[in-house]
């Protein structure tokens, strides 16, 4: 019974919906810190520069790559939802979601390749 109820969780579109929700939640948690960091410029360049030097660490750069991945995934997942809700239904939604995931990964990998 439980296995039957959980079966849909392996579906590509269920995973796409979960990725959209988790990426949105992660971005919402990140945003206040992003704004606080940019707000350092309010006292001039020194404090912001000090923070930017901290972000030169490899682990921070990898985390930034993760954020780019989340942003791209949430954008493409959101566009998919807007298209589904506002235009005529099209087949191939699983393929579209897979392409969205591939593009998000590609954007993040290119970003990281340029950072190192």
């Amino acid at each position: 019974m439980i296995a039957r109820q959980m079966k849909h969780r392996g579906d590509a579109l269920w995973i796409a919906a979960l990725v959209h929700r988790i990426s949105g939640l992660a971005l919402a948690i990140f945003l206040p810190f992003h704004f606080l960091a940019l707000g350092l410029a309010i006292d001039g360049t020194a404090r912001l520069d000090g923070f930017l030097r901290w972000t030169d660490q490899p682990l921070v750069k990898i985390a930034e790559g993760g954020l780019v991945l989340l942003l791209a995934a949430h954008l493409l997942g959101g566009l998919r939802i807007l298209v589904i809700e506002n235009f005529a239904w099209r087949d191939g939604q699983k393929q579209l979601a897979t392409v969205a995931a591939a593009i998000s990964l590609l954007v993040a990998v290119v970003f990281l390749a340029r950072m190192f």
């Binding site: 919402a28 945003l31 704004f35 309010i42 942003l71």
Partner: protein, 109 residues
């Protein structure tokens, strides 16, 4: 989620879609040779265009994220709708205030 919140969620998403694309382009451009405060501020200081771009972005993101947080809290936490709504409003206002401060910092400082 009621209809009013649903419409706000989707409308802010539609507003943000091109802004996010532009933001990703800015991220790639700004990090091409490492980030520095001088580089960032040389682009943004005194710019009405960047102030409008990121001002709209912050407003839309604050509304969009707070509605999303409300949905997640009411579906995934034991909080009732009213408490989830209250937390979401506080979160949205915090985001809007911090975002406005960040925009002011890079445009006006």
């Amino acid at each position: 989620m009621n209809v009013r919140l649903y419409v706000w969620q989707r409308a802010t998403a539609a507003v943000m879609a091109p802004l996010v694309l532009g933001h990703i382009a800015v991220i790639f451009y700004a990090t091409r040779q490492g980030l520095s405060a001088a580089d960032i501020l040389s682009r943004t200081r005194g710019s009405i265009v960047w102030a409008a771009y990121y001002g709209i972005f912050v407003a839309a993101a604050s509304i969009h994220a707070s509605i999303g947080i409300r949905n997640i809290l009411s579906e995934w936490s034991p909080l009732n709708e009213r408490r989830a709504g209250l937390i979401a409003i506080v979160f949205g206002l915090l985001l809007a205030a911090l975002g406005a401060r960040a925009v002011a910092a890079v445009v006006l400082s």
